[in-house]
Amino acid sequence: MSKVRVSTTINGDPVEYLCAAEETLLDVLRDRLGLTGSKEGCGTGDCGACSVTLDGRLVCSCLVLGAEAEGREVRTVEGIAKGDQLHPLQRKFIEHAALQCGICTPGFLVASKALLERNPNPTEHEIRFWLAGNLCRCTGYDKIVRAVVSAAAEMRESR
């Protein structure tokens, strides 16, 4: 079974890998590249735990083939902090207790960051609809929404 050779950029770094034609980007990230921050909650694009951005667009990496990353730019939860500096969303998620078990958190952070890049001042309504593709079973979403509101406010102030 021949493999596909892929050259891509992940969190700003050039990366090359071989993957099977049917292998998902999520499996490549987790099993070939050791980037286990993206989680598989369903494998069918329903839970958002595997959220990454592909050329800035929010996608479920379980619905993208590894081969499709060729020449693209992938960003994952591992690329959100800059060195030891957490992104405001990361700090606010901790501060607001916006996670309990934390399995959905990487997906929520990637999705929230994508939202704030498009809309720096979202309403609660807009946040809830943007994040409707990310399932959380622990929090009831209350503290997640508050953390995103709070991070957005801080990011607006520091601009």
């Binding site: 079974m1 099977a20 987790r30 099993d31 980037l35 286990t36 921050g37 993206s38 989680k39 598989e40 909650g41 369903c42 494998g43 069918t44 329903d46 839970c47 735990a49 994952t76 939860v77 591992e78 959100i80 902090a81 957490l86 969303l89 990361q90 998620f93 901790i94 501060e95 607001h96 207790a97 996670l99 309990q100 078990c101 934390g102 399995i103 959905c104 958190t105 990487p106 952070l109 609660e124 946040i127 809830r128 609809f129 994040l131 409707a132 593709g133 990310n134 399932l135 959380c136 079973r137 622990c138 929090t139 009831g140 979403y141 209350d142 503290k143 997640i144 929404v145 508050r146």
Partner: protein, 750 residues
């Protein structure tokens, strides 16, 4: 352990909201969950599952699969010894023996060099099934002539024991007084039948484990579980291993809610690894989680309650029928015990029937059994309040259980917080807020027992005065933060100076599972005791350094001090001062505690819910929700609120959206998050919380567990709100739009 100071306590750290110690790991992707671990030479394990709801397994032919290059081991029922006793059903659930009892029941498993090979091998395994008639509905399963799952199951709890096997495993009865007498005294009696569909805990992390058994018979298991000690003991029994030869490490856990309190894939991974001589990783797919882990019961509930015009309840009676899947053990006993636990009743009875059907063996789901019976009881109380023209809060206040009440399940309550939660609901702005058209408000209360249990912690004082606390209860929702707070509170040091880890099974004594709302209570109690044990030793070392008697040393604000003028005049020694020279004063300093924690205070909650119904479609939205619950003492209020909010939203999902749907073929029709719809962010409002603190006399800080009670009232709170908005009593959940439309249409025609 009794409450330290019943007159009230002040805390330095407890009750504050510091960042959780595992926070950064969890926002950066560094935290390692069940599926995130790998090992050199690791194989991939996959399970073959029955496509039939009920079938005799005549023969399993693995020859072709085993011959496939890359396949390293296959296990079937032949690789698991027959187990009798308590673990028999667990063993048969893990791997089917003579019969497959539900769609998804494991019949074989493969370990191969990669996923593709493992999948191919599964297709090459030939299972010869004799398909049998099946039954998935609880009432159908109870009927004479229903397909019988187990030829050796004879109903317990009835006299005389039946001579014929059936699907009715057991009858339970709880209560006191004379319900017939009570109903005769009532001015108004309401009786109704309720129905609920089965739901799944819906944790976002599928079950996952990595097993490695060496040729010396020693094993390691990495697993996402609520209780790695229990996993160790069960797996060792199922595989015939010495407990000491199996070391289980709990990964970070991506939600459990009771569903990760048992074993499914773990013994299989160990058996494959033992056979292949290599590490084996098994990760369930979401479909497998739905089909073959442990959802909760579907049930029918009949409730009859009588009331006087002055609002006093004269009698309560209930009959509950819960299916627990393919094996006995539905939580109907706890449903029956808790059904009327909120009320101070002279005449009360609850009968529960435990029934088996061709569905996956149920597992615990947050306050197992209680939401189902509370749905019926709290709905009928709402209806009675309407009938006598009394505010539902007043009816609850008139009948609320209190200190000294003989509970409906037996024990007499000590200090409890139910009344405080109802009174807080009464004065909450939510209760007085005006409602718009097509909107309705519901109120409901709920009860949960809470649990203590076996607990063991070790608290080690490091050389620099920091502290390493090892606990044995997996942290599901932030409990490490609470442990750090309690240890630091006791020792008089900073929160950041304590690091709490969840130790593996070889590093600490046995710990019961993280369940029953027990962790912050029991592990917290053990932590406090271990810290006090360490303080005693620290004082002893200080006494030694000063050359005075240990009794003449006291511990204050993180320092050893002479107890009084007679003890001598010495400058205080900090924990770090004493730790630094520990090598010269007797060696390492540590505090320990092994306890079977008792005194878990029962827990109560009252919820307010507003809904709005679209009268054209029946679509219902929760527009406001308030959870009021007694925490005894909130150690980390943010995570207490989180438990309130999360439980409420799971309950909202159960009330409005979630259900297991079985086809006539006995197969699960909606084994995925698209068709089994849990609430998403856009479905919900903010979930308001009120933390009531009525100290538990059985804990040094007064805390009560908070994890489960929050899922008990929502089914009824939402149903009462929908019933008010729709102007018709809703008795079946989930209240999907078609059901609501149908009920509204029927009410209009009447």
């Amino acid at each position: 352990m009794p409450l330290d100071n019943p007159k009230g306590q002040s805390f330095r750290l407890v009750g504050s909201r510091p960042d959780r110690p595992d926070g950064i790991d969890k926002v950066t992707g560094r935290a390692k969950f069940g599926a995130d671990m790998s090992a050199p030479g690791m194989l991939v394990g996959k399970l073959l599952r029955s496509p039939h709801a009920h079938a005799r397994i005549r023969r399993i032919d693995i020859k072709k699969a085993l011959a496939l290059p890359g396949v390293k081991a296959i296990v079937t029922r032949d690789d698991f010894k027959e187990i009798e006793g308590d673990l028999r059903d667990v063993s048969r659930n893990v791997m089917a023996r003579d019969k497959a009892l539900y769609d998804g029941h494991a019949v074989a498993a493969v370990a191969a060099i990669d996923t593709a090979t493992a999948r191919k091998a599964l297709k090459l395994i030939k299972v010869d099934y004799e398909i049998l008639p099946h039954v998935t509905d609880v009432e159908e399963a109870m009927k004479p002539g229903a397909p019988v799952l187990h030829s050796d199951l004879f109903t317990q709890g009835v006299e005389p024991t039946p001579k014929k096997p059936s699907n009715i495993a057991k009858r339970h009865e709880f209560g006191h007084g004379d319900v017939a007498k009570g109903f005769a005294q009532a001015d108004v009696v309401v009786e109704r039948k309720f129905k609920n569909e089965a739901t799944h805990q819906g944790y976002i992390e599928p079950h996952a484990c990595l097993a490695s058994v060496g040729n010396d018979g020693q094993g390691e298991l990495w697993v996402c579980t609520q209780g790695h000690y229990a996993v160790r003991n069960v797996c060792a029994s199922l595989l015939g291993m010495d407990v000491s030869k199996l070391r289980v490490t709990a990964s970070e856990i991506g939600g459990g809610f009771g569903g990760k309190t048992t074993v499914f894939i773990e013994p299989v991974a160990l058996a494959l690894s033992r056979k292949a001589g290599k590490p084996v990783k098994i990760v369930m797919s979401r479909e497998e989680v739905f089909r073959a882990s442990g959802p909760t019961s579907s049930a029918t509930v009949w409730v009859k309650i009588g009331i006087k015009k002055d609002g006093r309840i004269t009698a309560g009676d209930a009959v509950l029928k819960y299916q627990g899947g393919a094996f006995p053990g539905s939580p109907v006993d706890m449903g029956a015990m808790s059904a009327f636990a909120c009320y101070d009743l002279e005449n009360v009875r609850a009968v529960g029937w435990d029934v088996v059907v061709n569905r996956p063996k149920q597992a615990a789901y947050r306050a197992p059994g209680a939401p189902i019976s509370a749905f019926g009881v709290e709905s009928v109380i709402d209806e009675l309040a309407q009938k006598i023209g009394m505010d539902p809060i007043e009816v609850r206040l008139k009948n609320a259980a209190h200190e000294g009440t003989e509970s409906s399940y037996g024990p007499t309550y000590g200090v409890i917080g139910l009344r405080a939660t109802i009174e807080a609901a009464k004065v909450h702005p939510h209760y007085k807020a005006p409602l718009g058209p097509n909107q309705g408000r519901g109120i409901a209360s709920g009860f949960w027992f809470n649990f203590g249990g076996q607990t063991c912690v070790s608290l080690n004082i490091n050389i620099d005065g920091t502290v390493a606390l090892a606990v044995g209860t997996p942290d599901i929702g932030g409990s490490r933060a609470s442990m750090c707070l309690m240890a630091a509170e006791e020792l008089g040091i900073g929160y950041d100076q304590v690091r709490t880890i969840v130790a593996d099974t070889s590093s600490l004594g046995y710990n019961d599972i993280s369940e029953g709302s027990r962790v912050t209570f029991s592990t917290g109690m053990a932590t406090i005791q271990a810290a006090r044990d360490a303080v005693k030793k620290l004082c002893g070392r200080a006494a030694q350094m000063w050359g005075i008697s240990p009794e003449a040393v006291l511990w204050e604000n993180g320092h050893a001090k002479p107890a009084g003028a007679n003890a001598g005049d010495f400058p205080p020694l900090s924990l770090a001062d004493i730790a630094k020279v520990a090598a010269n004063t007797g060696g390492p300093i540590a505090g320990h505690c092994e306890v079977n924690a008792e005194g878990a205070g029962v827990s109560f909650s009252t919820h307010l819910c507003d809904v709005e119904i679209d009268p054209e479609t029946g679509f219902t939205r929760v527009i406001r929700y308030t959870v009021i619950q007694d925490a005894g003492k909130a150690i980390h209020p943010s995570y207490v609120e989180g438990q309130y909010q999360g439980g409420a939203v799971q309950g909202i999902g159960w009330a409005l959206n979630e259900e297991y749907i079985y086809g006539a073929d006995g197969k699960l029709q909606n084994a995925g998050f698209l068709d089994y719809r849990i609430p998403v962010a856009s479905d919900l409002p903010m979930i308001d919380t009120v933390i009531v603190e009525v100290p538990n006399p059985g804990h040094p800080y007064g805390l009560r567990g908070v994890g489960e009670t929050s899922i008990v009232p929502p089914l009824a709170a939402v149903a009462n709100a929908v019933s008010a908005a729709a102007k018709v009593r809703m008795t079946e959940i989930p209240m999907s739009p078609p059901k609501i439309l149908k009920a509204m249409g029927e009410a209009q025609r009447r």
